[in-house]
């Protein structure tokens, strides 16, 4: 069925609305003028200044440490959780419990974790951000791997057991390889989510260990500079690559 002309107006408006701001940032990152609102000419001068900015580089290093750790831990915990839920539970209770952190407002989790860390007198730093990010990243991995599990043929595992492989061997040699695309997609998603996460990191890190979003937040709060445009464009590029990668591996949209 073709859509009438009238409803195509909001449809196109949505895309203009979604992409206009991104387009402006990307275009202005190549502006040779320091003025953010007047196009003067093409230049790549703002890109090297990003790499010379110490706050950005410290933030980037911290964020990469956090995101990589979160990716590994969340993939491991989320995959185990998903297999456990798929095999051993029938009711939706455990599943709901495991996926809930993905839907929980970040602010609530943030104040909760801050209270817990403070009660246990845990010194805040990158480790506390990693723990905090793992909780919700794991929920996304669980959801994606569960979706993958649902589409698998259980007779392969049964055949492996019938042919004499033990439970552990069946899991390693039959189940795990089939889950790999879901795990990689979940891991990429966990990485991207952690890379971009601001609110929870803001509450659970120490002032001495800012993540990149926190560094960007302070930069934006104290005024806009062309440097931010260049940084933003590079981050957009990385996010787009990660999303396309995850999308190709499994249909992330279906899993959620």
């Amino acid at each position: 069925m073709r859509s009438s002309r009238l409803i195509r107006i909001p449809f196109w408006f949505t895309y203009v609305f979604l992409y206009l701001p991104i387009l402006v940032v990307v275009i202005m990152s190549f502006n040779s003028s320091a003025n953010l609102f007047v196009w003067k000419g093409f230049s790549l001068e703002w890109y090297p200044t990003v790499f010379a900015n110490e706050a950005v580089m410290t933030g980037l290093r911290n964020t990469l440490i956090v995101a990589a750790s979160v990716m590994v831990l969340a993939t491991l915990l989320g995959t185990l959780m998903a297999v456990g839920i798929h095999r051993y539970t029938r009711g939706g209770l455990v599943r709901a419990f495991a996926i809930a952190p993905a839907l929980l407002p970040d602010l609530l989790l943030a104040v909760g974790l801050l209270s817990l860390f403070s009660l246990l007198t845990v010194t805040l730093g990158l480790h506390s951000v990693i723990i905090a990010h793992v909780t919700f990243a794991m929920a996304f991995v669980t959801a994606i791997v569960l979706a993958r599990l649902a589409s698998l043929d259980p007779s392969l595992e049964e055949a492996s057991r019938d042919l004499g492989a033990g439970a552990f061997r069946t899991f390693m040699r039959v189940t795990l390889p089939q889950l790999a695309p879901g795990m990689v997609a979940g891991g990429l998603l966990a990485f991207t989510l952690s890379l971009d996460e601001f609110v929870i990191a803001f509450f659970t890190t120490a002032p001495t260990t800012p993540t990149l979003p926190i560094a960007i937040y302070s930069m934006v709060r104290f005024g806009v500079t062309p440097e931010i445009n260049a940084l933003a464009t590079m981050l957009l590029f990385v996010s787009v690559l990660a999303v396309i990668g995850a999308q190709r591996l499994t249909r992330v949209t279906d899993a959620l």
């Binding site: 909001p10 949505t14 915990l77 929980l104 909760g112 209270s115 817990l116 793992v134 601001f198 934006v220």
Partner: protein, 304 residues
């Protein structure tokens, strides 16, 4: 069987082969219990304690934190938050519904592209996306330049640091969360229903009103919750685009925890937010159940 689990205890209900489940379910469950369930319970309990003289929490039971909430100042913040999130949700429906409807009717190849295109901004850094609106809404920004160039306005419009700027920023942030559930709800509809109605002589508007719209209500309600919930607790957009003039409940909670160091009052605010959100999700669930089951029965009766 690989059952060398050292920590017995957490056997889920409905377990088929009890012990074998432990190595899979225990690690994740422990993490979720310690770092999600305990923190939420902890904050909830703080709402009923007194604040220490130099910050922190004194473990004496009190309801003062809730009494303070009745102050018109704070009631006003809660009302503004609900109002702002409501406007954002309505606008998201106005844009998201037609968008999802058009996407569903695109040829399959374009459908995937259109869907990914809606999703992409959502996975890009949220501070960067908010920052982009500073460039657009500024007095010397791109929208004002454009409007002045066309001659619609002479003087730049003051847009940045106003409540509409906050609404635009929130809408921009959460619009994809409206399109997605709507799309999945619309795309799973049985095309034969609309075809049958058209063949039997219904005009497109009537087909939409009596078939497409009612069947998409669950997706619509899910989208509304997906937009309303984060819009209500966001504190960064009100600060960056609203210039701190629009104070929402998220800003208040942040300030109590990080600036005023009044954790019990912040916890009470967080509890109010949680209760509002839980009530909303329950309302959504029961409404979508009623929509799926209710009207169909009535329609059958009327037709019979």
């Amino acid at each position: 069987m690989a059952t060398q689990s050292p920590t017995p205890g957490v056997v889920p209900r409905g377990a088929r082969r009890g012990w074998a489940a432990l190595p899979f379910l225990t690690p994740g469950t422990l993490v979720l219990a310690l770092f999600v369930a305990v923190p939420l319970l902890l904050v909830t309990s703080y709402a009923f304690f007194e604040r220490g003289r130099f910050g922190g929490v004194v473990y004496t039971f009190t309801l003062d934190n809730f009494v303070r909430l009745a102050d018109p100042l704070y009631l006003n913040v809660i009302a503004t938050s609900i109002g702002t999130a409501l406007i954002v949700t309505v606008l998201a429906v106005a844009l998201g519904y037609p968008t999802a409807l058009v996407i569903v009717r695109l040829p399959p190849k374009w459908r995937t592209i259109a869907l990914i295109a809606v999703l992409l901004p959502f996975w890009t850094n949220f501070l960067i996306r908010t920052y982009a609106w500073i460039l657009l809404l500024n007095n010397a920004g791109w929208i004002n330049q454009g409007l002045q160039a066309v001659g619609i306005i002479d003087e730049p419009l003051k847009m940045l640091y106003t409540q509409p700027a906050v609404i635009i920023g929130l809408l921009y942030m959460y619009l994809p969360l409206m399109v997605l559930p709507l799309y999945s709800s619309l795309s799973s509809q049985d095309a034969q229903l609309t075809e049958a109605a058209t063949n039997l002589g219904s005009n497109p508007f009537r087909v939409f009103r009596t078939i497409t719209l009612p069947l998409s209500v669950p997706g619509l309600l899910t989208g509304c919750v997906f937009v309303f919930v984060p819009a209500m607790s966001n504190f960064v957009i009100p600060e960056l685009l609203g210039g701190g003039k629009t104070v929402l409940i998220g800003n208040l909670i942040r300030d109590q925890f990080l600036k005023a160091r009044d954790w019990p009052f912040g916890a009470a605010l967080a509890l109010v937010l949680t209760i509002l959100l839980i009530a909303l999700i329950f309302a959504q669930q029961s409404a979508s159940r009623r929509v799926i089951e209710g009207p169909r029965e009535r329609k059958v009766k009327r037709d019979a």
